[in-house]
Symmetry: D2
Subunit: 116 residues, 4 copies
């Protein structure tokens, strides 16, 4: 069964091929493009309070959704070019974080809080 | 049917809840955490030529996979907190890019090359 | 008269030359290195409230100062390699922002707030 | 004697004060704004080869100069709000790097190449 990310990676592969853009899609270049898009995403939240950031208005929400999309597209494309299964890698890392951050010890403390 | 990203988002939700970390997971904070991880990913490629970046050695490959995992975890968590379906948003954006970048006109030109 | 940034740029030039690292210091690579360091700087603030970020403890302050140093070093080196006078460029941009953001109209509003 | 960066920091202070923007200029927010601008700078180089990045055309050069200016403005503003002397911090870090990276041992090797 093809997963949703494999399907997306396949579309991105075709997208690059028909435009002869594979030459530009080295991991180095794609990592830069990803950083550029994440910069745009961060900029959406820079002047908001943490509380405001949780309830953006309709226009900001549309822009944020589009930035999340761009980040996803470059991340999926970068992983595909490198042959990395993103979900498998993420699940492995989360297993590791689950062992590393004992719920009792780290409860309510953001010190070195890992992804999640 | 639950997709692989929904499953991952569910695990991240539980991970945060049992540690009482939901208070730290505002979109503003998660966007910053995402930017920090993307910075680490970019650093892996900074001194490599584009060609070298396509064939990292085994140690670099393991580090890159772990950084891609961290980026994925924060991206999925951020989208979940905001209620955005990442794959749907990405597919929509790719549809738009498909219309916007005519294959004939943009063939082999990186000028304004979009994600993919 | 040599300014403090010209002196710093000169030291960085010598630093790279004696290690034969000029070959790695292309603008592309230096921009990536800058992004990596900014990622580390952002990570220092990611779980802090805006208020907490204004009064970091002694250990966090030392780390933040070191990250600001790394960002400055790469920024000065990148500008030097490109032949850009950072202070002149910044003054020009600030002149432009001064004209663009009328104090009366933008008073107290972060909407599109520019640098400073 | 007032240095060029102190003068710039002073202008930025006044710029924020007359617009009542000091409330937005917490270190957390300014670090995010810095990350956003560095993202735009990185995007200028993402599809260029390292060689091309060393010789951008006139239009790209103007954009790059403007992005370097934005990065400088936020960096100087952030350091000012935190009470950090950027040049002193950078000189200290460069002293440390000078000791840490023995020219003989690291000659021509980008492995762990530090800023410079």
């Amino acid at each position: 069964m093809t997963t949703e990310l494999e399907r997306l990676a396949g579309r991105l592969r075709a997208f690059a091929r028909v435009r002869d853009w594979e030459q530009f899609h080295t991991p180095k270049n794609l990592a830069m493009a990803l950083a550029g898009e994440v910069g745009e995403l961060v900029a959406e939240f820079q002047w908001l309070t943490p509380e405001e950031s949780a309830a953006p208005g309709p226009e900001a929400s549309a822009r944020i959704r589009a930035e999340l999309a761009d980040v996803t597209l470059y991340l999926v494309r970068l992983a595909d070019v490198l042959g990395v299964d993103l979900v498998e890698a993420a699940e492995d890392k989360l297993d590791e974080n689950d062992r590393r951050y004992d719920p009792g010890r780290y409860r309510g403390s953001a010190r070195k809080a890992p992804p999640a």
